[in-house]
Symmetry: C2
Subunit: 533 residues, 2 copies
């Protein structure tokens, strides 16, 4: 029997209390990779919860600088291990080493960790609010409990449960992370966790600041997210698994932040098509094909108004899709999921423009696929035609007139993004104004004249949106410092003696330039004390 | 058959589609009051949802000043009707016209509405965040859908579904309110809603900006909070009803903000008791007896360390409780609820110090009641001894030593508040430092040397706390502007043409002094445009 890889629990790489094992698959060949990983039992989860809970109590007392040091050290070590990490991730996901990992995802991952470190040092994410007349002071502070993180299959670094945005946010708020690696890239997660573990040791954080298991039964996931010792959960993945975890967490009153699914409607208004249809073909093609369509922000549904321009647009896109080799998907599960979604959309009335079938042979591939439905079809079964095809399959919806376009806009469920392309001279403005009120409340991020696939890590970024894209419309998974608030709680100090206050709320500004809301106005000054007055 | 009062739906006082009727009770006498109110059917709920949904679309286009005018006009009209409102509320709740209504609750209610108006004009609650290099801009904005509000029995004005904090917050965020009045004070709610309706007409807001029904079956409540047309729900009331509504809303992915129950632990440390025990007796007595104990922030459980000072303290409190006439509770239900809680605590090991039984006769009264349990009892059944007695019954827990005090602090469920009284010279500091880490993560508001019953409406106030005090530890029901965020969504604008942005996010500062986070720093300036550079 092959050696079984070890899990990281309570600061040690130890043999799992395993209920079974699994191996990942190389999507290039469809063949099983060499390493054997354990499926953890509830005993592993219990051990992680206990150690995580103790680490949480330590972390709330740990100096800010030490937590920031860890995040920066980890970023640096990831960069040092960049080649090895990229090669293994390529093996497990078929995403290219370059440019994807070397030039985009690993730099983004390191950048996120460094931004989180900067937020930790800056402290502004706590939104310190001080009312001097009443001596009531409040801030967002640590929940004092571990955070469970479930990472997705499509970003082995930037969303990895041991290194991604949820990890960085939870650590920044002083919660240890109990990570569930995604079973499609366990070796990548293992190497990353080894790097994290080294950074933890280098900077002296509690040993259980990061714990990781590779897999667990669904019911043990429900157990984890609803356990009295867990503080909150971050999840990125499929809607089905997400909703099951949400039900368990909700019933226990445990916060859970989910990024589940999104088809990211793109409205190409008639003036824009007329003005620059060919240009937009190029933009849509590039965006739709990015990572073989396996982005949460993939432009899954493109809505146009019937006419020659729309027909030409679809014909041109069909040409592009047919001319390109189909990319390798993340695994056999990815091929199955795209196939199921295409079937569901066809059952709901969509017609195939091109593609539609898996590609035989070793590699995990599906034909580049376009579908088309009429506005009438869409309105007859909006749910059926909002099936997320997580891969290289996209749907056109062709509406007969402006009224129908408006009805379509009003029929979308919650999404991460919504795009509108319109005429640069304002020809589309009356139609734009009709559509936007419907889209605005249905999407987290609204875009003009650009595709949704770029998710920049800036403070104003919102990577979230109304249900069922996520579980709550007020939180973002990307964008620091806002993403940190998910793993915090609001803490008020009423008449607390000054020396007992957290540094953020004392009279003296703790950094010299922390922005605090004092008596209703943002300020970087110290609180004026009676003595000073 | 008596006339049945009308419900407010779609801007009209109309006959309910009623499944039954009810009458409120005068708690002074236990007798039925004259008015007959309808229990609304699902048809009423559907009509309110439809009209509310249309009003929501109008409200997102309504000028800021008009919404603020309404809130201010409503505050003014409430003040004009103060006498009539107070008299009816006294009839229905037995809470005194003066000082309670005339001097405290009605001024607070008007103040909240005016603070919400100021927040609407100021716009700062939207937290505009602008990154100029990427032209990504975000803010908290309206959800564009009606908000359901369920008010509690104990604040007929300041938390009333048609006038209280949830109402003010929802309207400020441009959501129409579908209110469920509390059936213990329907006449008060009716008069308030009439005042609100007049203010709506005076200021030209959509007629369905406020709708109100008096009662509905529980399953129709579940229907309302989970309906596709509802945006979110605010609820204040019992834990049992709150959790049932939460389950329905959660399953539909609809945000629900609940303020459910809290026993507000108060730790009286040995040095404080020794130093100023008598003074604290007075403070605790006043706080515990406020509104006959029917406050969410009632100091329900007082924890002391065994010793002569503790015994004297309890004896003195017993004297105060026995010397005072028992107040009138909010109704027969209130008497029953206190009795059930006292029985539950006795079953869990608490002993009666004084009181413990309902008072016979017409008025709804229960003996002023004190219970006592040992630390051992508490730790043996922490759940049983954390039963909320919503009224004039309070529990002492007497711990043997510091270790047991710490275990007790670590055994509390989520609460709105937690208080620590300690020696002014620092004698209690080592013990304080042991207890606070446990309490901090279990309560929303931490207090030193004061009782929890004062909930000031200031920006730094946090009236919320971890589950099961509420449904989420990050939101407050009191404190403007933070309470507004509950009924908003995060909205990002990525590359949106400048003239299409909401005013808060355009280059020009919309008020001249709106605080916005531009490129990471808070600023009241305009965004520097390339032309201006």
């Amino acid at each position: 029997m092959a050696d079984i890889e070890r899990v990281l629990i309570a600061g040690e790489w130890r043999n799992a209390d395993a209920t079974g094992t699994f191996q990942a698959i190389d999507p290039h060949s469809g063949e099983t990779l060499e390493w054997t990983f354990p499926v953890s039992s509830r005993a592993d989860i219990d051990a992680a919860l206990e150690a995580g809970s103790a680490a949480a109590s330590e972390l709330v007392r740990t100096p800010v600088a030490q937590i920031a040091d860890f995040l920066e050290r980890y970023a640096g070590l990831i960069e040092e291990s960049s080649s090895e990490l990229s090669e293994v991730a390529n093996l497990e996901t078929a995403l290219p080493v370059s440019p994807r990992f070397a030039d985009i995802e690993l730099p983004r991952t390191a950048n996120q960790l460094r931004q989180a470190a900067a937020a930790v040092r800056d402290r502004g994410w706590t939104i310190p609010t001080i009312d001097t007349a009443t001596n009531i002071r409040s801030m967002y502070g640590p929940i004092g409990a571990p955070v469970a993180v479930f990472g997705p299959n499509n970003f082995p670094f930037a969303y990895n449960a041991v290194a991604g945005g949820d990890f960085a946010a939870a650590i920044a708020v002083r919660s240890p992370v109990i990570a569930k690696a995604h079973p499609s890239h366990p070796r990548t997660s293992q190497l990353l966790a080894e790097v994290a573990h080294r950074a933890i040791q280098d900077t002296g954080l509690p040993a259980a600041t990061l714990q990781m298991v590779f897999h667990m039964a669904p019911e043990d996931g429900f157990y984890l997210v609803s356990h009295p010792l867990i503080g909150a959960t971050g999840y990125t993945g499929s809607r089905r698994a997400g909703l099951a975890l949400k039900a368990a967490a909700d019933a226990a009153g445990k916060p859970i932040y989910l990024e589940m699914s999104s088809i990211n409607p793109v409205f190409l208004l008639p003036g824009a098509l007329r003005e620059r249809g060919e240009e937009i073909v190029g933009e849509l093609y590039a965006s739709a094909m990015m990572a073989t369509g396996q982005f949460c922000t993939n432009p899954g549904v493109v809505v146009l108004k019937a006419g020659d321009d729309a027909e030409q647009f679809i014909t041109a896109m069909r040409g592009r899709f047919e001319a390109a080799d189909a990319g390798v998907l993340l695994g056999p599960g990815g091929v199955r999921v795209v196939g199921e979604a295409v079937r569901a959309m066809r059952d709901a009335g969509a017609e195939l423009v091109t593609g539609g079938a898996p590609i035989e042979g070793g590699a995990c591939r599906f034909q580049n696929t376009l579908l088309q439905a009429s506005g009438e079809d869409f309105l007859a079964d909006p749910e059926g035609l909002q099936e997320e095809a997580f891969g290289n399959a996209n749907l056109f919806v062709v509406a007969t007139d402006d009224d129908q376009l408006e009805h379509i806009a009003a029929s979308f469920a919650g999404n991460l993004t919504g795009c509108l392309y319109s005429h640069s001279g304002g020809d589309d403005d009356p139609l734009y104004d009709r559509l936007v009120p419907h889209l605005r409340r249905r999407v987290g991020r609204l875009l003009n004249d650009k595709m949704p696939t770029s998710v920049l890590v800036v403070p104003s970024m919102h990577h979230g949106g109304p249900y069922p894209a996520t579980g709550h419309p007020g939180f973002t998974a990307v964008g620091i410092p806002a993403s940190l608030l998910r793993f915090s709680m609001l803490q008020c100090y009423d008449g607390i003696r000054e020396h007992r206050l957290p540094a953020e709320l004392r009279d003296k500004n703790p950094t010299g330039d922390l922005w605090r809301k004092i008596d209703g106005a943002w300020s970087q000054a110290d609180v004026a004390t009676p003595d000073a007055a």
